[in-house]
């Protein structure tokens, strides 16, 4: 087991190097010159030349990559050209917000996805199956921005129950924090619920046909007990693995939702940075979230290997 974990940890290194190169390369694919984007409406050639020089945009690509990665290895993620702040500082500021939103969203996704998946599997092919599918897929097929705005119009404008947008830190007010997060977390969780539901259904179907469920049934256990205690517990394994992966994806994926609800997390930061070609910010944030993603991935695999030794080979 230790060898397996060490092996997987060793594999992280080439993955992260690849990630850093991909992120860096993707940025360069984008047409448009950051110096033009950041030079202001007057497009003064002196300003453009200055920005190019200061941020090494006039250096060849490999040199720029090495300059950047060299900084990263020393704990320096570079500086945002647009707001002139160290990227590391921005990441530290946004990470707790995004992490909290992600946890809430995941709880909501599991809360909708698992029951719906169980119902769909148990009542497979019936109206229940269709209904459960409809409930879960509704989230997947509804664009986040659309659902987000509708929720704001209903709960904030018409009913006045919740603040329309913004973020309150839990240290400031726990109540305010929950009030600001519930709608965005629902919008995000709603979309992932479908994925969880679909895979829960698939795994449940598998589990319901397995020998241990048959044995449990033969022992005369109640159907409810069989489903919840025996089948679901086994079916949950792949679902939780998947959940970990989705969690990693969410860390950076809440782009439009954060924009609608003005949650100051990674998503908004990254999209703004992409459109302003604020390279250091995009690279820094994606590198950090990717590292988390890869680590979560590893954790899930290790956990899975613990229960399923065959995978360790």
């Amino acid at each position: 087991m230790r060898r397996f974990i060490l092996h997987r940890l060793a594999l992280l290194v080439p993955t992260l190097i690849l990630v850093s190169m991909l992120v860096f390369g993707l940025q360069q694919l984008l047409p448009g010159d950051p110096a033009l984007a950041l030079a202001g409406e007057q497009q003064d050639p002196d300003v453009i030349a200055f920005i190019r020089h200061r941020y090494h945009l006039d250096e060849p690509l490999p040199v720029r990559y090495l300059l950047w990665i060299g900084g990263v290895l020393h704990g320096d993620l570079g500086e945002s050209i647009r707001i002139q702040r160290p990227v590391l500082e921005l990441v530290e500021e946004k990470f707790p917000v995004t992490a909290e939103l992600t946890v809430f969203a995941m709880l909501i996704a599991l809360g909708i996805g698992i029951p719906a998946g169980v119902v769909a599997a148990v009542k497979r092919g019936t109206g229940w199956d269709v209904a459960a599918n409809a409930v879960a897929l509704w989230g997947l097929s509804t664009p986040n921005f659309w659902l987000g705005i509708l929720l704001i119009l209903f709960f904030s404008v018409d009913l006045g129950w919740l603040p329309a947008s913004g973020f309150v830190s839990p240290w400031e007010s726990l109540r305010g924090n929950l009030a600001t997060l519930i709608m965005p977390a629902f919008v995000l969780g709603n979309a992932i619920a479908a994925v969880i539901m679909r895979h829960t259904r698939s795994a449940m179907l598998q589990a319901l046909r397995s020998d241990y469920v048959r044995t449990a049934r033969a022992k005369g256990l109640s159907e409810r007990r069989v489903i919840l205690r025996h089948a679901l517990r086994n079916a949950l394994q792949p679902v939780i693995t998947l959940g970990a992966l989705e969690f990693g994806g969410l860390l950076s994926g809440a782009v439009l939702t954060e924009q609608i609800f003005t949650i100051p997390g990674f998503g908004k930061l990254v999209v703004d940075a992409v459109f302003n070609r604020d390279y250091a910010v995009v690279q820094g944030v994606v590198l950090v979230t990717s590292t988390f993603y890869v680590l979560l991935n590893l954790l899930a695999d290790v956990l899975y290997a613990v229960v399923n030794p065959r995978l360790r080979s």
Binding site: G32, G40, A164
Partner: protein, 504 residues
Amino acid sequence: MTLAGRFRFSAALILLLAAVPAGAQTLKIGISVDPDVLDPVLDRTFVGGTVLRAMCDRLFETKADNEIVPDLASAYSWSEDHKQLTISLRPGLSFPDGEPLDAAAVKFTIDRDINFPGSIRKSEFPPLAGVEAIDAHTVRIELNAPFPPLLEVLASRSGIALAPKATEALGPNGVGNHPPCIGPFKLVERVAQDRIVLERSENYWAANRVKLDRIVYQPLPDGTVRIANLRSGDLDLIEQVQPTDFIELEKDPKLATASAPALGYQGLTINVGKGPRAQTPLGQDVRVRKALELSIDRDAINEVIAGGLYIPDNQFQPPQSPFHAADLPIPKRDVAAAKKLLAEAGAPHPSFTMMTGTSPLNVQLAQMIQAMAGEAGFDIKLQQTDFTTSLDAAHRGDFDAFQIGWSGFIDPDGNSLTSLRSDGTNNFAHYSNPEIDALFDQGRSTVELEPRKAIYAKISTILERDLPIIYLYHPRWLWAFSKSVHGFQPASDGTIRVKDMSKS
């Protein structure tokens, strides 16, 4: 921030909140973009200008009706030849760190505008012969040639006086976090993408005009979301209301609205001079461009996209400006005439690609132009392009037509020279006309109003003939706010003036 740091920070915030007396007036403003760095020489965003206006007084102030009056300055005078501007400073003012506002500070400020590496402000100034402190409270700016827009420049971010010692101490990266300037409000907190919190300054020289205790700016890029926040009471005032929303908000009994005609314009820039994409009938034949203009119904555009709120026009200066040419009527839509011109040009069905922004309003406008020009025989393909990419294409001449606006200045020089002079930094049309270049130089150095008006009228007439840019309309700045907000003054530069505003 570490957990402990976060806790300390929260504790500090709670103390801060407790320190604000009950009934304190907090104005919450929804802005459209998160501002960039709030250093007067580096800030390039419109919203940055709005926030800086609440924090930093300038030597001069542009009043809501575009009149420019002394602010940190108390008086000014031009020399006979208009090459020297002598400014007297308001006596007895000092910066928050105690440094006096004196001639040395003003000289420091203007030197910084021009010499700071990467300064966005530098291009707003003409080449200066010098800035000189005459005595403690008098400073003289010397020009090589007259430059009528100078007062406007000194009423903009370039004219924000900074405390020399504090600025040096903050270093090149520190000014944006705490601009050491004189102003009604000071920055107390900024969370990127989330909020900017200002608090009333102590010992402000015009304290009687400051009625609010705190201002919170919240960047909300989505217009619908801004309105939802206003309606739910989470915000008191919002900017950049879309015209269709504005018309609806006007009917809301709980809200008030305000508008001001903008200084800038929206137009269609045509590549007439750079690269192979200028070598098309549209780029080369003025008849084709004229036909394009004749196919467009500016009033219909105004009705459909703006509910009639915008100001259709064919010039860079808005009609309220004295430099708007009086005898240059907007050509009426005439499809038959357009077709005839195209036939004469030997290009009955010119085809081109129009680069357009991604905002819903841009896309709607582009589709209308496409449909209207289509009736005259044009075949227009639309290409939605994000702004940075389009700037790059525009500089390289890699486009046929580009739908782009200009935020605007009061002086006609600022609205036209950089986009039309052959060496202009914004000359995306890549237009080059020696006659126009000479007129721009004349316009810059002519001081008297009537001769200057004649020069810009001539420029507009030539442009209407050459059509490197087809001007479509001047937008209108639109705001909406709660009825509890008082003293809002709609200004043509679009920024929000928080001085004199109060909340009940």
